[in-house]
Structure formats: C-alpha cells, structure tokens
Symmetry: none
Subunit: 213 residues, 4 copies
DNA sequence: TATGAATGAGTTTTCATTCAT
DNA sequence: AATGAATGAAAACTCATTCAT
C-alpha cells in the first residue's frame, strides 16, 4: 500500500515538474494538458486523477515555487559567511537582493510567478499555522514577526499590511525593471528600492526614538 | 467626405464602447470578436478594418480608460471647493483618493485596467511631449514634475522612478484590497497607503531640511 | 485491443471513402473537413486524429486510387482470355487501354488523380523495394523492368526515364482528350497514342536489330 | 476620347503586370485581389471594371506569357547566327531548347504557366485565324504546318494531334525535371526528350522513305 | 469611372473533458 | 488506476464581391 502511495506521489510530482518546464518555456496559455501528460509519460485522462484542471495545477505550482524561492533566500542568508542580519531591514534587504538576483537569472520564472502571485497565497501562510505544506512560508512569516517585534525602534500594529506593501512593491516594480528595463534596469533601480523599503519601515518608527539613516 | 470620416469615427467608437462593456462584463478572454461586432451592429469583418485584433483594441482601451480616470481625478481636484493642493504629497494623495474611490465603485474597471496596465503605457506619456492622444497624461506628468521641482524640501534626481514606484504600489495593493479585501478592505488600508506615499517622498528629502511627520 | 484497432481502421477507411466521394463529386477545394467528418458520422476533431490535414488525406487517396487502378489493369490482363502479352509494348498498350477506358467511364476519378499525380509518387514505388503499402506499384515496376530486360531488341540504360515519359504523355494528353475532347475525343486519339508509345520504345531499339513495325 | 482609352489600357496592363509579379512571387492562391489592385495603385473595386475575377485575369496572363515565350523562342531562332533550321525536327528542337532554358532560369514562370496551361488555349490559336491578340501563336502554328508540309519524308494527317502530344510531353515532363529534378535534372533528361521528339515525328514517316538518324 | 467601406459566409484547427475499456 | 479515442464547441481571421457615393 505504501508503494502505491509513493507511486502516486511520483506521478503527481512528475506532472508538476513537467508543467513547470512547459509553463516557463512556452507560457501557461500555450501549454496544453496533453503536453503536460505526455512529458510525464502519462495519458491525458490520468491528469484528471491528480488535478482538477490546468488552473488548479498552476496555483499549486506558483505556491511551491514562491515558497521555494523564499526558502532558498532564507537559507542563503543563514549560510552566508558574514554576520547574520539582526535588524528587520537588513534581513528584508538581503532576502530581496537574493530573490531579485535569482529572478534576474531566470526571466521565465519571474514571468510565471509574478503574473500569478497574489497576496491570497501569502495569506494562507500567515493564517495557517500548522500545514506542513507551507511550513517554510509560515516560518518566514514568524521570523518576520519576531524581527519586527524585537526592533527597539519599530512599532507596527499591522505587520501583515506592512509586509503586503513591501512584497507588492517589490513584485510589481521588479517585474517591469527586470523584464523590460523600464523605467530602468534592475541594477539602476535597486538603490531606489532599498531606499523605499527603508522608508516604508521608517513609517512605523516609534515616535520617541528617532532612527538614523 | 467629412461625413464618411465621421461615420468611421462613430463605428470605431462604437466598437470600443461595445468591447469595454463586454470586457468588464464577462472578461477579456470570454469576449469574442463576433460579440463585439454584433453589439455594435457591424459585421465581423468590419472589426478588422478598425483594429488589428482583440489585443490591439484592448491596449487602446486600457490607455483611454486610464487617461480618462487620471483626467477626471485631476479635474475633480481643480474643481473642489477647498484649497487646491499645493504640495506634491497633497496632490498625489488627493489624486489617489479620488481614483481609488472611483475604482471602489467600479470593480470591473479596476479588474480590466489593473491586469493590463503597464508602466510602458505611462512611459509613452512621459516621453511623448506633444501627442494629442495622450495630452492629458502628459499634462499630469508635467504637473507632477513641477510640483516636485517647487517642493522646497524635496530633491529627486530620478522623478520617473519615484512616480513609477508610487503608481505600482497603489495599483498592485489596491487591486487586492478592493477586489478581495485582502489583507484588508480599502478603507482600513488607506491610512497605510497614505503613510507609505509620505514615506516614499520623504525618502527624497533634502538632507539639510528635516521634514516633520 | 484488437477490437479497438479494427475500429480505428474502419474509421480511417470511412474517412478516406467519404473524402473520395466528396472530392470526386464537388472537387477538392469545395470539400471541407467538416463535410468529410460528417459524412463518416464523426466529429470534426476526430478527423485530425487520423490525418494531419486535407492535403495529407488527399495524397494518400491519390496514391491508393492510382495503385488500385494499376493493379486492376494488371489483373485484368492476367485474367484475360487471350494470350498474355509477352512483349513490353503489348503489355503497356494493354495496360493503357484498360486504364483509359476506366477513366473514360469515370471522369471524376480522372480529374482527381490527374491533377494531383506527380512522378514523385511513382518514384516511391520505384525506390521502395519492400513497403507493403506500395507492393502493387513495386510489382508493376519490376514487371516493367523484366519485360524491358527480356526484350531482345530493346536496350535502355535509363528505364525509369522511359517510363516517366510514357506515363506523363499518357496522363497529360488523356486528361485533355477525355475531359474536353480536345484536340480529339479519346477514341480518335488512341491510335496516335499507341503509335507514340511504339515510337518511344523504338527510340531505344538496339542498333543492330532493325525492328519491324 | 483616345486619351481615355489609352488610360484604360494602361490600367489594364498595370493590373496584369502586378498580378504576374504577385502570382509568380507568392503563388496564385496566396494573391488577393486587394494585393493586385494596391500594387497597381488602384482601388479594389476598380479591378472589377477590367476583369471578371481572378481566374479571368489568370487565364489571360497564361495566354500572354505563353505566347510571348513562344515568340521569343521563334525570334531567337531567326536571329541566331547559324543556319535557320529548315527541317521540322530541327526547328522544334531549337524551340524547345530555348524555351526550356528560359524556364530553367525562371522557375516561378514555369510553375505559373505549367499548372495553368491547357491545350484549349492553343486551340484558340489554331482555330482563330485572324485575332490580333494571338497573332504570334497563329503564326507559329502556320510555320509548324508549313514545315510539316514541306518535309519530304513526313506525312501527317493530323498535325494538330502531333503538336499536342509534343507540347504535352515537353510541358509535363519538364515541369518535374526542372522543379524537382525528378526523375532526373533537365540536363540529363534533355537527350531523352530530343530522342522522344525525333521518334514522335518518325512515327509519321512516309512508309516509302526510310529516314535515317 | 473610380473608390474603398462594409459584408459575412466560410474554413481550419485546437483542446479541455468525458467515458468505455 | 490508467488509458487514449472521441467529442464538438469555440474562435480567429480572410477575402471576393457589392454598392453607395
């Protein structure tokens, strides 16, 4: 019985992998279910045993890939030789830099994720405390909260909204900068983005303490 | 001859109008060219005399609707009984508030514009100085520049990027707040957005002058 | 499984048959794929499971019908009560007479085959020695070669070209004579054609042996 | 009035020229009436003032181009430095060689003419004795007849059929040899064709006289 | 005579989904 | 569980021809 279960998992994974390759290669709209199944060596009908439809699969894929990117970024920071960032701003900046350089290398992934990433997805991570599926996301969010909490000079009653703004800003502006170099190529835009992140956090500075730049 | 020309303009307008109604009603993908033509009382082939394809029409529609929204916002500010805002922040805030309340009233328009609006579109307005087509947009951008210029405490070497960040932030976050009330309904989110705009501008404060919150 | 396979063969055959009827009835251009599928009681999409497109089907049809005609001619000669022709000229003449009288009876078939028959098609039969598909054609060509070989008074270093000339001459002239009776009806033209065949072969007579008319 | 007439002739000629360029360039089927009109600087509707439809124009074009090719061949023979061929075979061979080398240089023309040339066209030249339009064709046919007549060793009661066979043979075999080099490239095929022509004529040799090769 | 806007029938092809095996 | 044959709706786009001006 375990074998059967493993077999099913393998097929499911294979479908996800095939779909990802196809989506990033030729785009979501131009990928057919027949393509996906064929690339996994399965029959068309079999697809429907694992996913409701193409959209169902896509949503899961976006979630997985985003979480994975976040996890990679997080791990790369932990593994970095330098000091582990201890302020929220340093941490976020490091995360963003890592993620953007990843996406800079992989336009197809950027195109795929950006177009389909919605806050609703993160919401799940925020609200779901236990789900093994999004453990990484949840962990990231918890770390964000604790760093925010331990910042002596920050006071944010709505941490979710703050994160939301940051992510949306990063996501939407970088899409344009990386893919179209409009209004500027990423390299040129990055300092502005850093400054913006800084300012967004600054917006929640404790009235008493005046943070220095 | 003038008559013929007028007739053509009418048909073109009619197609745009029909398409807009259909797009906002049932969505872009689910609208066929046959639908659009039929709703305008024209033959399918006639559509192709006026537009290359559905995408061509959509792009023009997004541009028109966006420009129109901007113009309305601008005019409503000019016509407001209160004092005309004289600082950049006040002006932008007023614009944003007007636009967001409009979109709040018209989810379909929001859905249509947001998904299809790209900075490339604004770029045209920025770069094109003369084109009558985008006169309004250009005027808006000029006003933005002059307000920025006349701010005694702001110094921005890259005004285009600043505006880009603001627009992308507003656009992407409000899409989520208005349509899905995630992470918060617009009303609740608005103060955060205002603060974010303030902070973004603050990021370009002249070093000497310390602006107060 | 055998059942499924048989079923598929039947559908394929049915499509070919339907298409042939339609092509000869109203012409290739005026036959739509929808027509063909419908006449076979199948859905339009099903057509594409069996043929790439209309041209794909037509090519196969031309090949089948031509091979079939050749085979019939060959068999009718074998079955004829009279002596089996033992010279190349007698054999070719018998074949041509049979074929032309068939086409005389079936203008539509002539129209269909002639317009679409190219030497490239025969080439396949000539070069392919084994393919079951064109076994008949190949057999015909082999017989032609052996008759040529066994003719004591003929010596042709390029039998393929000789056959090519004969077939093209027959094909193109008869098209005109049968369908338009121009420059003469078939009956009147036939003696000339016979003489031409005779002369064409005579062109490859061994210098030594002086063949008699 | 003469001016108007000339103007009309010019437009007609222009349409023919444009169509020819388009037909040989992209093929008959892929050329639209709009293309033809546009290339002549005329409106689509104007086309219909000069031709019934695309087929009407094509037929005239085939006739014109064929006649022109024949005329060129004839003139080139007359202008050749060597002796003017005085036997029918020499004349036909020279004509064919000229025409084939022309078509070898211009595959597009070959493709256009061959596919659309029918004996019916020549028929007109044969039967019409006076028409200025096909004067050249008629002249060619008359010369053919007189050469045939003056051949001491030839006796053909049906000169039209003889010419028909020769033209169809040349036309159909060369189409394949020139365009597809099947079953052999033109150069290699040519000797066989010459021999075939010789034999076809030989088929009408007077019984008494035994022609020598 | 000339124009060119308008027509709309006509055709190909794709593909998500079902279901009998 | 898996297959893959069958479905048939759906949609884009072309173009010869007409006709009001």
């Amino acid at each position: 019985m375990g074998k059967v279960e493993i077999n099913k998992q393998n097929k499911r994974s294979s479908l996800l992998r095939s779909a990802y390759e196809l989506f990033t290669d030729r785009g979501f709209a131009k990928t057919t279910i027949a393509d996906i199944a064929q690339r996994s060596g399965l029959a068309k009908g079999t697809f429907y045993l694992y996913f409701k439809d193409k959209y169902d699969l896509r949503d899961e894929l976006v979630a997985r890939k985003s979480a994975q990117l976040l996890l990679e970024a997080h791990q790369s920071i932990q593994n970095a030789k330098g000091a582990i960032p201890d302020t929220l701003e340093a941490y976020l900046t490091a995360m963003i830099d890592y993620i953007l350089s990843s996406l800079q290398e992989n336009h197809m992934l950027l195109r795929f994720i950006s177009k389909n990433l919605s806050w609703g997805f993160f919401r799940r991570a925020v609200k779901t405390e236990g789900k093994a599926e999004y453990a990484d996301l949840s962990e990231f969010y918890q770390l964000y909260l604790s760093l925010l909490d331990s910042s002596p000079d920050l006071e944010c009653s709505d941490p979710e909204i703050l994160l939301f703004m940051i992510i949306e800003l990063v996501n939407s502006t970088c899409y344009s900068c990386i893919l179209y170099e409009t209004p500027a190529p990423l390299e040129e835009y990055l300092p502005h983005l850093h400054r913006a992140i800084h300012q967004l956090l600054e917006g929640y500075a404790k009235p008493s303490s005046s943070r220095q730049d």
